[in-house]
């Protein structure tokens, strides 16, 4: 008998809790945008802000709403752009109309005062250094987001054009994407 009471009571409590949670899910339902979440999952999460949004999540939301182009993510490059374009069902676009050359930050060490401000600003931790010691940029990791330029009190950081290295080199993409209609006409 005692066992039955226990089972009944536990089941009743579980049912009650279940109902409360089910109701709560309805009441507190947040219209999360599944598209934004899928796009965010593609983004590199460096929060670099080169898309001119404060981070990857806001950019993903803006793309999902159709407010932003699909080609703003510089670190993600063409691969991410194509994936986003596929999710959004739009034509892939050329990366960034201005097409900035790949840049890399460089610290002029003789001017560096070791204030660590650029280290804190770097979204991908590509700057190493300690207080009152020279800082240096790990150029293979630097995405060229330029976030370290502004906080530097002595302006000793400059952006250089990234030299191509054998490990990163690849064929340049064709500059014009051929349209299927044109092909048919020809």
């Amino acid at each position: 008998m005692a066992i039955l009471t226990a089972v009944a009571l536990f089941a009743a409590l579980a049912l009650l809790v279940g109902i409360v949670l089910a109701v709560a899910t309805r009441i507190f339902h947040v219209a999360g945008d599944p598209t934004a979440e899928r796009i965010e999952a593609l983004l590199p999460q460096t929060q670099c802000g080169q898309c001119r949004y404060p981070g990857c999540r806001p950019y993903a939301e803006a793309v999902a709403k159709g407010e932003a182009e699909v080609n703003r993510c510089v670190p993600g490059g063409e691969k991410v752009m194509r994936q986003i374009a596929e999710i959004m069902g739009v034509e892939p676009q050329a990366m960034e109309i201005e097409a900035p050359l790949p840049m890399v930050a460089m610290i002029r060490e003789e001017e560096c005062i070791g204030c660590t401000l650029c280290i804190k600003a770097c979204p991908i931790d590509a700057i190493v250094g300690a207080p009152k010691q020279n800082h240096a940029v790990i150029s293979s990791h630097c995405t060229g987001c330029q976030r370290c330029l502004e906080p530097c009190p002595v302006d000793c950081i400059e952006m250089l054009i990234k030299k191509e290295r054998l490990e990163e080199w690849r064929w340049s993409a064709p500059s014009v994407v051929e349209q299927p209609e044109e092909r048919k006409a020809a």
Binding site: A2, T5, A6, L9, F10, L13, A14, V17, V20, L21, A24, T25, I27, F28, H29, V30, A130
Partner: protein
């Protein structure tokens, strides 16, 4: 008043859940590599343990004792704590997205964390009043937060120290945790439990 102060002090320093009862070691080692993350985790734990301590007190005194079901305490507590955390997560998600960003990822992690359940069970075993139980829960959680944040700060600095190759990563973290625990033993004479 004095009694409540003693409860708080004893829960935070003397009977610290992580460093002298060794409960909740998983988040203690898992979420302690960055101070920022450990602060977020600490808030979530404080929130959940305080609420769990008061809810389980009510459950104990108005359901388990009248129906003589004390032997099912663990099951009931897990059910109610898990549901409570789930409910709070939903509510926070709706009402305060900013708070959800801070706590959100940690809340589901600690639904049935052993520290949470441990506080709830030890609490009712010690037969305190409702207010004292809640306060003890809060104190235990604050102790957890203190240990976690201290440890995260230590680990951040150890990351930059020249640790011998064979001790890098987890071994040095475990040694540090042990030393921290030893240090907290120094509080043992402060309050008699």
């Amino acid at each position: 008043m004095n009694e409540f102060l003693l409860i708080l002090l004893s829960a935070v320093l003397v009977n610290n859940y992580v460093l002298s009862k060794f409960l909740g070691i998983c988040p203690f080692l898992g979420v302690s590599s960055k101070v920022e993350a450990s602060v977020g985790m600490s808030w979530a734990v404080m929130f959940v343990i305080t609420l769990a301590a008061s809810t389980t007190w009510i459950l104990e005194h108005y359901l388990l004792i009248p129906f003589d079901l004390l032997y099912l305490r663990t099951m009931f507590f897990i059910l109610i704590i898990a549901a409570l955390v789930q409910f709070i997560e939903l509510a926070i998600h709706k009402s305060s997205p900013a708070l959800h960003q801070t706590l959100g990822i940690y809340l589901p992690l600690i639904t049935t964390n052993c520290a949470v359940l441990g506080v709830a069970i030890l609490n009712v075993q010690q037969d305190k009043g409702f207010f004292a139980s809640t306060l003890y829960g809060f104190g235990a959680a604050a102790g957890f937060a203190l240990a976690l944040i201290l440890f995260a700060g230590l680990r951040e600095r150890i990351d930059r120290a020249p640790v011998p190759e064979s001790f890098k990563g987890s071994p040095v973290a475990l040694i540090t945790a042990g030393l921290l625990s030893l240090a907290f033993l120094g509080f043992a004479g402060l309050v008699r439990p």
